[in-house]
Assembly symmetry: C2
C-alpha cells in the first residue's frame, strides 16, 4: 500500500555520555547525515540542558530529524522522518547510528500516510513541490520563547 | 516499566484541506495546545510549501510537537512527544485534534526510553533540569539554509 512518508523511531542505548552531551557534535552529525542522504536542510534548532542533555530538531523539506539525549543514561530518542523514500531515510539513520556507536538499538519503521493517496485529491493536487522560505519565530502573549 | 517520554504518533485523516494549508492557524493551534498542556515552548519553525502543504516543528523543553500536512489528501502526520507525563501529552494532542476535526484518526502511543533509567547513571545525574538558551542556526559549506 502506498504511503507518504517513512518514519524511523529508534531507542538508542549504551552511547558514550560525552557524545550525548556534545551539542556541536550532534548538530554536525545530523547535518552530515542529511547531506549524505541528499535531504534538504531548511533549519536546525539546538537546545542544551543543564546539567546535561541535548535536543536537536532538524527541519528538512522532507519532514524532520529529531534527537533528544539523556547522557546520564547513555540513551537517545532518535526520529528520522522523511517523505523522500525508504532508502534515504535509512541512509540518514544509519549515518547517525554509526557515529553514536550504541551498544544496543531498538528500531522500528512506521510508514506514515498509508492509503491516503487513494482518496480523491482536491483541486490543487501537487505535481511538484517547491519550498516557500518563511520562517516564523512565534511569540504569543504569556509565552516565553527562549 | 519506567520510561523517559511519551510519544503520540497520529495519522489524522479527513481534515478540511483549507485547515491543513493554513500555516497561521496551525501554528497557533500548536502553541495554544502547548500552553493548555503547560508545556514550555522554546522555538517554532513554520514551513509552507507550494502549491500547498505545511510543516511545523515546535520545540518544547519536554521534546517536540511536529505536524506535516498534505491538504490534497486531507491528511496530516502529527507527533506529540513530551517527557513531562502521559496526561500532558494526551492533553496537547487532544487540543490539536479538536481543532483539526478529522473524520478519522489512527493513533498510537510509544513510550520512549523504557527501562533505561535502571542503568547506572553517570556521575552527573540530573536532579533538576534547567534550560540553557542557545539557539544555533546551522550553516555548513555546501548547504543552503532557508
Amino acid at each position: 500500500m502506498e504511503g507518504l512518508g517513512w518514519h524511523i523511531i529508534a531507542e538508542v542505548m549504551g552511547v558514550e555520555p560525552k557524545i550525548l552531551n556534545d551539542s556541536e557534535l550532534l548538530k554536525n552529525v545530523l547535518l552530515d547525515a542529511s547531506t549524505d542522504a541528499n535531504l534538504t536542510v531548511l533549519d536546525i534548532k539546538v537546545q542544551r540542558f543543564s546539567p546535561q542533555g541535548v535536543s536537536i530538531l532538524l527541519v528538512i523539506a522532507e519532514s524532520h530529524i529529531a534527537i533528544h539525549t539523556w547522557p546520564e543514561y547513555g540513551y537517545a530518542a532518535l526520529d528520522v522522518f522523511t517523505c523522500r523514500d525508504e532508502e534515504s531515510t535509512w541512509r540518514a539513520y544509519n549515518y547517525i547510528i554509526k557515529v553514536l556507536n550504541p551498544k544496543n538499538v531498538q528500531v522500528m519503521l512506521v510508514k506514515r500516510g498509508l492509503g491516503v493517496t487513494t482518496s480523491v485529491p482536491n483541486e490543487e493536487a501537487i505535481s511538484s513541490s517547491d519550498i516557500l522560505t518563511e520562517k516564523t519565530m512565534a511569540s504569543k502573549e504569556g509565552l516565553t520563547i527562549a
